[in-house]
């Protein structure tokens, strides 16, 4: 009886399997060590959300949706909106053993904070999320769902978040003295009644459709696209047995001694580097990774066909 030895070797000697490939300068999935998978980005995939995007990196699949709500601004910053990011990794994204689950809980906390920091730290112009100065600002709730986990959640989630936020169109809002509520001038938009934090001077109310013709007329002009101020492109790397790997897949991720993410501006300039613990990062490897991410960022926007 013939037995195909390769899958057996792969599952019993995982590190040796990868090492053997890396020694030959190639990875088991056919990529070069510094070759990243080209992400596929689709925007506007959900009709029920204000903005949405689906991002695939290899087999990793991430869905992001943005819901916009009118809320009362903070007293200290009356004209700044907010962006709140949540990341959801469910069991459908892949099987995980007990120890892998623990690791992913940690990974999850680090990724979601990175997303949140990026979103509220310069990605979206928060001043433009002001609906009515001093009384109502937009809060964008961005929910990122990991549907399939095949490694490199950081990059996929970050791209999905950026694409979904860039897809959001907000209606203009006015305060109506007669109705004593805020009315949207764009197409129907979910405005929730606020409870404890009621925006002054009136409370938010769902706008009753007054005249359909008016709504349609105002449709085209009164929608405001959320502008992304400074798009950051994420590039994750990992070190496996001393080899630097770009965009590690799930198989490789479990063997990495350390992983880190380089963020670059859309023009290729270095923006920041995140390293959540793990084995140390040598300066030589850091240099290589930064240069590699510069090269990727060349023309990646065209490849992604994102109108940022």
């Amino acid at each position: 009886m013939e037995v195909d030895a390769l899958p057996l070797f792969r599952s019993t000697h995982r590190r040796e399997f990868h090492d053997e490939f890396l020694r030959a300068g190639v990875r088991p999935d056919g990529r070069r060590p510094l070759e990243a998978r080209v992400p596929r980005v689709q925007r506007g995939v959900l009709s029920s959300a204000h903005g949405s995007a689906r991002v695939g990196v290899g087999k990793t699949l991430v869905l992001a949706g943005v819901r916009a709500e009118l809320t009362a601004p903070r007293q200290t910053e009356p004209s700044r909106g907010r962006v709140l990011v949540a990341l959801e990794t469910t069991n459908i994204s892949g099987p995980s053993s007990a120890s892998a689950l623990l690791r992913s809980a940690d990974e999850h906390a680090a990724v979601v904070e990175l997303l949140q920091r990026t979103a509220s730290g310069g990605l979206v112009e928060l001043d433009r999320l002001c609906a009515v100065k001093g009384s109502a600002v937009w809060t964008l709730y961005c929910d990122v769902y990991v549907l399939e986990h095949d490694g490199n959640i950081t990059d996929a989630a970050m791209l999905a978040m950026c694409a979904a936020l860039g897809d959001v169109q907000l209606p203009l809002v006015e305060y109506d003295e007669k109705l004593e509520s805020f009315v949207t001038l764009g197409p129907a938009c979910r405005l929730t009644e606020s409870e404890s934090t009621s925006p002054t001077p009136g409370t938010l109310k769902r706008k009753r459709k007054a005249e359909p013709s008016e709504v349609i007329r105002s449709h085209a002009d009164n929608l405001m696209r959320v502008k992304l101020d400074d798009l950051l492109l994420p590039f994750s790397f990992g070190v496996l047995s001393g080899h630097l790997l770009a965009d590690p897949c799930r198989d490789e991720e479990s063997l990495l001694s350390c992983n880190f993410t380089v963020l670059v501006h859309s023009d290729g300039q270095f923006a920041s580097l995140h390293k959540p613990g793990g084995a140390p990062l040598s300066e030589h490897i850091m240099e290589t990774a930064i240069n590699a991410s510069r090269n990727y960022s060349n023309g990646i926007l065209q490849k992604l066909r994102l109108p940022f």
């Binding site: 940690d106 949140q116 920091r117 920041s272 390293k275 959540p276 613990g277 140390p280 040598s282």
Partner: protein
């Protein structure tokens, strides 16, 4: 230009450490950067819960408690970062199937919390006698809107800053022995004469943590790395001194405080390092 609290941009705050601040923990410490203060306690290596047990190494668990209220996403992130740093730094393979838990309680937050937590964790781990690969130390650096870099920022400075970078390093003292010497480690070379003298050593610095809020240029990042290394060397030397003192005289645990002279020496060191790298 001096800062609001009178420090120079490249001056870190005087720190104080008390190993063994808590009596019931296996190891504990109180670490403060002037007003930023944390309490750390280490339990273990002790029995691990079955689900957490790892066959090849000790399972590290970090709990980060804010000064008030429940831990939020920021605390969970700090837990994740510190957990992975301690996992690497502690020689967990010596205690497989056990658990090592580290609890950090913020007493007061006045900026540079992550690096203060790293220092508190390091002293507590040393006090607990957990074998470590090296000393954990780091620095938080804030880059203000005019591009000026200030080390070890206060909460107010962090709030006003364009970018805040927290870096965590591990420092190892590598002794250089003659070739063929038992237990040789690190690079070759370095000779010992006939009479004994302390072997030559170098301080290896390894980047474990990098946490950035905001964006910065590559040159600024390189400068931050350099400054954090220099600051970290000072902190790890300080921690070493504190531990040496506390183990020599067990009766009264001294709280090491940086004297004015030491502080000036540190400032000078940082200044030189910033000048050479700029």
């Amino acid at each position: 230009m001096p800062r609001p609290d009178g420090r120079l941009p490249n001056q870190i705050r005087p720190f104080a450490a008390t190993p063994g601040a808590l009596s019931r923990a296996d190891g504990s410490s109180r670490f403060s950067h002037e007003r930023t203060e944390l309490l750390a306690s280490v339990y273990g290596p002790c029995e691990a819960r079955r689900a957490r047990e790892l066959s090849h190494t000790a399972a590290v668990e970090v709990l980060f408690r804010p000064r008030g209220g429940l831990p939020g996403p920021r605390e969970r992130e700090a837990e994740a970062l510190l957990c992975r740093a301690v996992e690497y730094a502690a020689l967990g393979a010596l205690h497989p199937r056990t658990a090592l838990s580290l609890v950090l309680q913020v007493v007061h937050d006045d900026g540079a919390l992550l690096s203060a937590a790293l220092h508190a964790a390091c002293v507590a781990l040393l006090h607990a006698g957990v074998p470590l690969r090296g000393m954990l130390a780091g620095c938080t650096i804030a880059i203000l809107h005019d591009g000026e870099m200030v080390l070890d920022p206060t909460a107010q400075e962090e709030l006003e800053a364009r970018t805040v970078v927290s870096l965590g390093y591990m420092f190892r003292t590598c002794y250089q022995y003659d070739e063929g010497d038992e237990g040789a480690e690190g690079e070759e070379g370095g000779g010992n004469g006939d009479e004994w003298e302390p072997p030559k050593h170098t301080i290896e610095r390894e980047l474990l943590l990098s946490h950035v809020r905001g964006v910065l240029s590559q040159e600024e990042y390189a400068l931050c790395l350099h400054a954090a290394q220099q600051a970290g060397i000072c902190v790890s030397a300080f921690c070493r001194q504190v531990m040496e003192r506390s183990t020599n005289c067990e009766a009264k645990l001294p709280s090491g405080r940086v004297t004015r002279d030491q502080d000036e020496a540190i400032t000078q060191l940082l200044k030189e390092s910033m000048d050479t790298s700029a």
